[in-house]
């Protein structure tokens, strides 16, 4: 009977996928009925999950993420790692969060509730309950489906790390029992860590959300139905295929704005939905403009945005812990009353989080294990998008004379931080949260910017497009991207990715020395002493010996170009493989050397110190004068204040 059901399920899903032009391989199909119970700060849910054993081995146990259990007690792995703090927000001990499973059974079959067991595949922490295992009475054969019915309650914490409530604002994310990913016949189902995000299979979500009727609701996917219930509640139904997560939000203080968005090349037709909190209505146009910029930039540079809707959520004041987070077709941005137009934080967050629909949403890489594949790629895209729409110089901050680009800001963070970890690492294994962010966001992005400088913009553009086209709705790994980059560029790039992704070494080249001496007129013996002393030439042209020493101060080896400029305007470009610790270039020319500069086009963006990248013979005191006077004046004003 069960097999009959499974076979029918396979046929139905396969037919459905074909009929509706599925883009991804549907491994999961979630049908969830969820009811928000505001007075209990909880969501009660009934979940019907169909799961395809997409491997070639029978599977006799299932593993689920119960992410909310990270907030169940103060000894969960998340809490122990974070100390109850995440993203600058603190957990409120009076509002724990958890997922309670009331029952789990195979549809029309065995009750599995008794076999529930919590496992800790990453750290053996017995108090962590974020991964649940259930044993099946009969294994699921390869390429067959199983459907489970799960009754659960998601108790929401006070929001401090992505999910939860604040007042009557609800960000319901990572809230339902979510099956892990079966890879090579084994479960990939990590615990919820302080420095980790998520990983799941693509599939179909149909979720009915019941809330009090005055709540404005937004969710992953398209709203296909709304029913007013007679008990003061309403039920909205959302449906989306080809996604690997489902999140929703509800708040009576949201104001909903909808606008159709069309782009001709490539063709994009989607509906923009903005859920802006009443306190932030002045930011509506900034959000909208940034989201349109994001849609255009990502569609043109990587591939058309394929979904029918995109929802921007503006979290309630005080709920910033929910801000700046991505979910498929829905993301949270963030702002604060009073942020001036020149401080482009809402724009940057909007573009970044929207961009995750590409790097995380469609390119479903494993955020637990290779966070740079989503955060690094997305920060790279964000830096480029911000520069395109808000200017190269001041894409992030433009307040009076202060202009700071997103690129410069990211670079400052990189330069100011230690190198304790490589880019490639399990996200929870980094030295700390700072090291995780630094490597997966900033350094990851700069690796791609360097790659662009090595390959050229045109080739890089084709690399990114091909990678996106080839791997969207799949689970690529770092090696898959490298393979695409090598294929498109026709170059072996091991030398590039190897050290930059796996090493903790510094990349720092500089000009070690710059000297110029006039070669003196001939004196002494130049031939055999018997021939006599050399006679001074009457009008011998002056010749100068100029020496440029370049040094490698870091561990990472990277080929370099050096520009040497002479007094007569002559420029010489040298190439250096960069392997030795140092190298000297010597010139005997009738003109003096004026300056030498390593990496004159600033292509090696990961170079940790710009100050040693060039050297001039003459000292220029003007900047010291200018900034010295500037700082002195500010200090004098302070002194004046004290004398009042």
């Amino acid at each position: 009977m069960k097999k009959l059901f499974c076979a029918a399920g396979v046929l139905w899903l396969a037919f459905g996928a074909l009929a509706f032009g599925a883009r991804s391989r549907h491994v999961v199909d979630y049908r969830i009925q969820a009811q928000l119970v505001p007075e209990k700060r909880a969501v009660s849910g009934i979940e019907a999950l169909s799961w395809l054993n997409d491997s070639d081995v029978p599977i006799s146990e299932l593993q689920f993420h119960l992410y909310l259990n990270a907030f169940k007690n103060n000894r969960s792995t998340f809490m122990l790692e974070s100390g109850g703090r995440n993203r600058a927000f603190k957990h409120d001990d009076s509002h724990w969060g958890y997922t309670q499973i009331h029952g789990i059974q195979v549809r029309g079959g065995a009750d599995l509730t008794g076999s529930i067991e919590y496992i800790q595949p990453d750290d053996d922490n017995p108090d962590d309950q974020t991964v649940m295992r259930v044993l099946l009475p009969e294994p699921v054969p390869p390429q067959e489906w199983i459907t489970l019915e799960i009754e659960f309650t998601a108790k929401l914490p006070k929001v401090f790390s992505r999910s939860g409530f604040h007042g009557d604002f609800y960000m319901v994310a990572q809230w339902f029992p979510k099956i892990g990913v079966l890879q090579d016949g084994e479960w990939n189902c990590h615990q919820y860590h302080s420095n980790s995000e998520f990983f799941a299979d693509f599939g179909v979500y149909r979720v009915e959300i019941t809330t009090p009727e005055d709540y404005v609701v937004g969710a992953t996917g398209e709203r296909i139905d709304v029913v007013d219930n007679s008990d003061g509640t309403k039920t909205a139904t959302y449906y989306q295929e080809d996604v690997h997560d489902f999140a929703w939000t509800a708040c009576p203080d949201f104001v909903e704005f909808r606008e159709e968005y069309h782009l001709d090349d490539p063709e994009v037709n989607t509906e923009i939905i903005l859920l802006v909190h009443r306190e932030h209505l002045k930011f509506k146009s900034r959000y909208l403009s940034a989201l349109k910029n994001g849609l255009e930039f990502y569609s043109r540079n990587y591939g058309p945005y394929p979904y029918a809707a995109i929802t921007l959520v503006d979290p309630a004041p005080g709920a910033m812990g929910a801000g700046g987070m991505e979910y498929p077709t829905l993301f949270t941005s963030m702002t604060m009353v009073g942020i001036p137009a020149g401080l482009r934080m809402p724009e940057m967050v909007t573009i970044h989080e929207f961009g995750h629909n590409y790097w995380y949403g469609m390119i479903g890489s494993n955020e637990f294990e290779e966070a740079w594949l989503d955060e690094g790629f997305n920060t790279y895209s964000e830096i480029k998008a911000m520069a395109e729409y808000y200017g190269d110089e001041a894409s992030l901050i433009h307040l009076g004379r202060i202009k700071i680009s997103d690129f410069a800001f990211q670079r400052f963070q990189l330069a100011a931080s230690g190198n304790l970890d490589p880019v490639l690492k399990n996200s929870w294994d980094y030295f700390n949260g700072g090291s995780y962010s630094l490597n997966s966001y900033g350094k990851g992005a700069f690796v791609l910017l360097m790659l662009e400088n090595v390959l050229g913009e045109d080739v890089m553009s084709r690399v990114m497009k091909t990678y996106f086209e080839r791997w969207r709705f799949k689970h690529p790994k770092t090696g898959d991207f490298i393979a695409v980059a090598e294929e498109i560029s026709g170059r072996d790039l091991d030398w590039f990715f190897g050290p930059l992704l796996n090493s903790t070494g510094k990349l720092d080249y500089g000009i070690g020395g710059l000297r110029c001496r006039e070669i003196p007129v001939r004196r002494g013996f130049f031939g055999e002493p018997a021939e006599g002393l050399a006679a001074a030439a009457a009008e011998e042209e002056k010749v100068f010996r100029s020496a440029v020493s370049v040094v490698r101060r870091g561990e990472i080896v990277f080929p370099q170009r050096i520009k040497v400029v002479f007094e007569n305007g002559e420029e010489i470009i040298e190439s250096w493989e960069g392997r030795e610790r140092w190298k000297r270039f010597v010139y005997r020319l009738p003109s003096r050397v004026v300056s030498a500069q390593i990496d004159p086009e600033n292509k090696v963006v990961l170079d940790g110190n710009l100050l040693n990248n060039s050297r001039t013979i003459k000292e220029n005191k003007a900047p010291g004068f200018k900034y010295g006077l500037g700082l002195m004046f500010t200090f004098q004003e302070l002194l004046s204040f004290f004398s009042f």
Partner: protein
Amino acid sequence: MKILKSYAFGIGKATRASKMVSLLWLVNILFGSIVYFLTSRMITGAVGRTVLAEDLVASFDFRVLSDVLVHQGQEVRTIVFAAGLVLSAFSVIALFLKGGILFTLMQPANTEAERAGFAGTFFQGGGKFFCRFFRLCVYSLLPWLVFLLLNALFHPLGKIVTAGGAREGLAVTVLWVRIGIGVFLFLLLRMILDYARIRIVVSDTGHVFKSLWWAVGFVFRRFGKTLVLYYLVLITGAAICGFLYILKTILPAESLPVVMMAFIVGQILIAARGWVLIFLQAAQLKFYSPESLGT
């Protein structure tokens, strides 16, 4: 009427006190130049012999400045430490200067003190009242504490009104109101200390605490008038300094001659602040003791 007379007296006195303005400016630039030399040396050392130098003069480059901050950390710490020391030293010197200013201002014309010359009078006053002003400074910690306490009291009140920040628009308004109240209390306290110093100088009394207490009573008995006078002077000063500040800011400091021009405007602004200080002291002195100063 008394306010206007005091205001006019203050302007007249400050305008004639060019030597005092110059002295205040000189002391200010002497202390300030310590920061100049340290900063200038650090930046020249970091970028003076690089191709970045030229670009850095032309425009603000966050990449270069951030690298200076990151890679010249020791020098930056030295500058911050030195600036702290200079500031502390200046705070003490400022007590001396205030003594000099008040003592000079209260000298009637054609007296022996005036004939002794500006420098003699100024330094005599500075030295004479330094210890008393220092004690006043220590006693003033008490009202500063009250000021901080009052400020802290507004915090929970603000949280209640804004529902813990959930009413963000209101929270921003409350923040501005708090800043406004804070600035008002801050200036009020400085005004009270001004009158306490005036009393010490005019009465030549060593009862510092008593003078402070007396100044509180003096200000609150004439609350409106003292406040109006204080703010009239401040607004006049703000208008003059604001104009100079805008002038300095709009100069496009992208080449050395313009940087120099901006520097000169900046120094005029610092001198103007000294002028406003004398103006304020003179106006308040006149308001406190019209008889002893004549018209």
